[in-house]
Symmetry: C2
Subunit: 343 residues, 2 copies
Amino acid sequence: MKIIHLGIGKVGKTLVDQILKNKEVIRRTLGIYLIYSGLFNSKGGIFSDSGIDIRDVTKFPGNAVIVDYDKVISFLDENYIIVDTTASSETYGFLDLALKKSCYVAVSNKKPLCGNFNHFKRLVQKSERRFFYETTVGAGLPVIRTLMDLILTGDKIVQIQGCFSGTLGYIFSEIERGIAFSEAVKKAYELGYTEPDPRDDLSGLDVARKALILVRTMGRKTHLDEIKLTSLYPKQMEKLSVNDFFESLKNLDPVFQKRTVSAGKKGKTLRYVVTMDSESCRVGIEEVEKSSNLGSLKGPDNLIVFKTERYLANPLIIKGPGAGIGVTAAGVFADILEAAKLM
Amino acid sequence: MKIIHLGIGKVGKTLVDQILKNKEVIRRTLGIYLIYSGLFNSKGGIFSDSGIDIRDVTKFPGNAVIVDYDKVISFLDENYIIVDTTASSETYGFLDLALKKSCYVAVSNKKPLCGNFNHFKRLVQKSERRFFYETTVGAGLPVIRTLMDLILTGDKIVQIQGCFSGTLGYIFSEIERGIAFSEAVKKAYELGYTEPDPRDDLSGLDVARKALILVRTMGRKTHLDEIKLTSLYPKQMEKLSVNDFFESLKNLDPVFQKRTVSAGKKGKTLRYVVTMDSESCRVGIEEVEKSSNLGSLKGPDNLIVFKTERYLANPLIIKGPGAGIGVTAAGVFADILEAAKLM
């Protein structure tokens, strides 16, 4: 299997490292030969049909000769897998073209799945056996595949609930401990848990994208703006500088405190939750029983609860870190191996 | 894909039902054609290379003409999957032969994997991509596959802990509520949670088999008698009649009560747990923190905690019903589809 890899950020670099370290074991145990044929970032990349030099892979871009996608296209066939670990919405065209040329595709990039519904359909539904996107929800946790297995074996989804943001998980754990909302956000920021602009997390948009991918995987023709998304801050705080944003966060503290106390009186606690059933999908703060699976979640762990016809009284639950460089890269790696087995 | 199915017990019948109900959807969405070619119990079976009559499948054995395995062997090739939902240790020979003839195999039957280590090796390791056994541990929960993905992507297992018996989970939940051990066993028996002879559960042997399958999947050449197994009753109770066994269970109540109280004083609770690390594997009662994942487990749910190099501070956890007719059948069905995708 020949790999062309787009995106050499933190996850990308770690994936390169994991593949190079384990390719011999893979060859011995599974009989799968992994050949690194291309490595691209937004500026272009290096490519060789027969495999690129290992030193060029680990040092890219280094002083390698840079080529663009067009140079690669004529080589693509069913022996190739395209791996997308970027966070770009620009890769869709290349991925679609690669599938048309019978390539396999594995992505940790959510964007190509969250735009135009027909794009999702072309990538996932029309090529179900060649497109892999397990890491787009919950990183290395087996979420998408579990959902697909439930559906394909004829189970009916009654409800899916989940916490899909480690950052927001951390913040709500702090709030539960009695820390003010603004303080919790600041602490998460200082620990490097949030994006440089914490609004990227607090808007809930990233969680909504994950919800959308689950909803679409369930077969529903939903668009991002149809997900009922409640942000953690009011719209008027969108245009502030990051510093001013932090300052005005304090105004929200009483609101969060009141909601926390009110929930506590009912034996409940607040979580930032995705909830979807057969009709609707919403993303926002929910009051959940403290003793429930979601309520007993601590810190940055992700959790997903599948309530189905078969898993009704006792749902199927998956829990663990849903972000992080090593586990995300490993999840993409597992997808690559999955594809390789199909070749 | 042509299916030959061994074992028409409760799980087997439900699997037949699930496949017949969903084969049209599978054909539409995955392009996979499922053909039911054979159905066998210990007395023999019905078979037709081109597919057997749907009425014969649902009514087997009915008044169909019964054939034996030998009649089938010459037909076997890479288009066949052999499905083993029996609980027999006698099927190994047929499964091994089928793999040699390039068939695929999916089993919920633990026995062929728990005897001779070379049998395990031949079934699983020498034909890794054609042998599926997800349901042997945790039924429909994605346990084996998650373990394989971790190992193949280069993660290192630090510790695996799990509760793999719904029956014993129920009993220990009752004990935690203050119910006497003998009462809890009796209640489980009356609810149909235990085998007809409850010693089949209380011996821990079924849990030890699951532990063995995990240990062997991790690549270790272990035999069943090398697992440190602690039964819930002393050896001298083995030969009693079921009624006498129930009677003498009461003698154990003070022991369990003492252990429960002693654990409680340390903020702990008792669970029947599999614990394995890089060197050892034990199955027996453990004191676990009440607030831990294992400690907060309630009732008949199974739970597995993967602590690995990548999932260390926050382990990867899977929880849910690890037994039951519908979820076990669906797990085998998912394995069949997995195999079908490889064809």
